[in-house]
């Protein structure tokens, strides 16, 4: 009996493995499926290491950055160094905590100034395994109330939106990813246009007509039209404007430092949001028509009415 040469066997295996994966791709595209079960297994296997690494590296980095660097600088005074080492270590730990407290205080201040918006603090524990896409993983998941399509921000500006959730982890598509986008407008002229990622550090404002006047340095804020982010959150600053036909080519520098994210805020609501000053405007208009209630006491989150209520 003539056996099949091993080269042909491996070629046949290669062809069948590729064929199966092409079918898998086609199935996902046709059914809009995301192979969630496999993703859940993979993320569950890797995320504990990432979570542990995040907390581990935080303490190591604090110690390395402050303690050992100082240790090298103080060689000249050997005797005093030994005496002061213990105190330095304590200072180092305190500095690390102060730095963290500073960041958390910024988050807290932001949270307090936007009390009407339900939000949740989260730590970044990992980036994407794919170098072409811009995603991060957070240490909060479904158990904390995080759901798909929730907005993610920092006090500096918007970050992106949740695209996948797991029990203890959530994946966020950063604004810089080329598949990302947000409803935005120019803060001064109030010209509305979506802002999207390009896969590079800068964003692109896509549909601003050539006739519209746009200045470099102008602020870009959210328009609220995407129903994910409240209006007037910082998106970025216009960094470059080039003429184009029919639309200008506008590059936007993101307001949040998307390349160095450690703590973020998840907007834990799927309902359209407006910030307090929007609510004030709305309620003022409503006051003039029907009620004498002060604007500050108006409900801050604009909840959509049920179909029954609309009828």
């Amino acid at each position: 009996m003539v056996g099949v040469p091993s080269r042909h066997k491996s070629l046949a295996l290669l062809a069948s493995v590729i064929f199966v994966q092409v079918l898998l791709l086609a199935y996902q595209i046709k059914r809009d499926s995301e192979g969630r079960l496999i993703r859940v297994w993979s993320v569950s296997a890797i995320s504990p290491f990432e979570r542990a690494g995040t907390y581990g590296i935080g303490s190591v980095r604090g110690t390395w950055g402050h303690y050992f660097a100082l240790q090298n600088a103080s060689r000249e005074n050997e005797d005093l160094r030994h005496e002061n080492d213990r105190l330095k270590l304590e200072v180092t730990q305190l500095q690390s905590r102060v730095a963290e407290a500073g960041r958390l205080a910024a988050l807290l201040n932001f949270r307090e100034s936007h009390q009407q918006v339900p939000m949740l603090g989260a730590r970044v524990i990992a980036a994407s395994a794919d170098s072409a896409s811009r995603t991060i993983y957070l240490d909060r998941g479904e158990r904390d109330g995080v759901q798909k399509n929730m907005g993610v921000i920092t006090p500096d500006g918007i970050v992106g939106k949740v695209i996948e959730t797991f029990s203890n982890t959530a994946q966020v598509l950063l604004l810089t990813d080329k598949d990302s986008g947000v409803g935005a407008m120019l803060a001064e002229s109030r010209i509305q246009s979506p802002v999207g990622g390009t896969g590079e550090p800068r964003l692109e404002m896509k549909y601003v007509a050539t006739d519209d006047k746009v200045e470099v340095g102008e602020r870009v804020v959210t328009s609220g039209m995407d129903r994910i982010f409240p209006r007037d959150l910082p998106v970025g600053t216009v960094a470059e404007v080039k003429p184009g036909n029919p639309f200008k080519m506008i590059r936007v520098q993101p307001a949040a430092n998307l390349e160095r994210l450690e703590e973020v805020i998840v907007l834990t609501t799927m309902q359209p949001l407006i910030l307090k000053h929007d609510a004030t405007e709305t309620s003022t208009a409503a006051d003039s028509k029907s009620t004498n209630k002060p604007a500050a006491e108006q409900p801050a989150i604009d909840k959509p009415k049920s179909p029954a209520a609309n009828q």
Binding site: S10, L24, I29, G35, R39, T54, D130, Y137
Partner: protein, 177 residues
């Protein structure tokens, strides 16, 4: 392991390397942990494709096309699944399957132990990997994708340099012959 035996007899100057059972699994866990974790703190290191380097290394070392392509498939699918819903399952799976097959086929014919050979092969495989990804995105996903940018050229060089260092490190996991 007839395949391995055939290789040894036909081309006795090329050695087939074996690894401890847990070495490959442990390497994969560490590599995927690093791939996802390091860019959080060192953003520029996102340019590295560690799963690709590992696929190339084990392909070149084990020199068995069947196990090379299966390992490539597993690594690629794991990378797909960790990259989230924007990357469909199979995108990297197909690319790394082909790379695993090619690396182990070439490894069975050429001596790939020299750093210069490893450097050159890593650049070639990086290019093929990128080419397959572009083809998949254009043909299967109907997404516009450029063939080459300067960024990709730099990425190929950096990955090749890191690959040579990583391969030397991974050589220590080989079973003594």
């Amino acid at each position: 392991m007839n395949e391995t035996y055939d290789l040894r007899t036909a081309e006795s100057h090329i050695e087939v390397h074996k690894f401890h059972a847990g070495a490959i699994l442990g390497t994969l866990v560490i590599i995927f942990f690093l791939q996802a974790f390091v860019p959080v703190y060192f953003h520029r290191l996102a340019i590295l494709d560690l799963p690709l380097l590992v696929t190339i290394y084990f392909g070149l070392s084990r020199r068995n096309p069947s196990s090379g392509l299966l390992l490539g498939m597993a690594i690629g699918l794991l990378q797909d699944s960790l990259s989230g819903p924007i990357v469909p399952l199979g995108l990297y799976g197909i690319a790394k399957t082909v790379i695993g097959y090619l690396a182990s086929s070439i490894g069975a014919r050429l001596d790939t132990e020299h750093p210069a050979a490893r450097f050159s092969l890593t650049i070639v495989f990086f290019g093929i990997h990128q080419g397959i990804l572009v083809l998949e995105r254009r043909i299967l996903l109907a997404q516009p994708e450029v063939w080459f940018t300067m960024h990709l050229g730099i990425a190929a060089l950096i990955n090749a340099v890191v690959g040579v260092l990583l391969f030397t490190l991974l050589d220590r996991l080989r079973k003594p012959s």
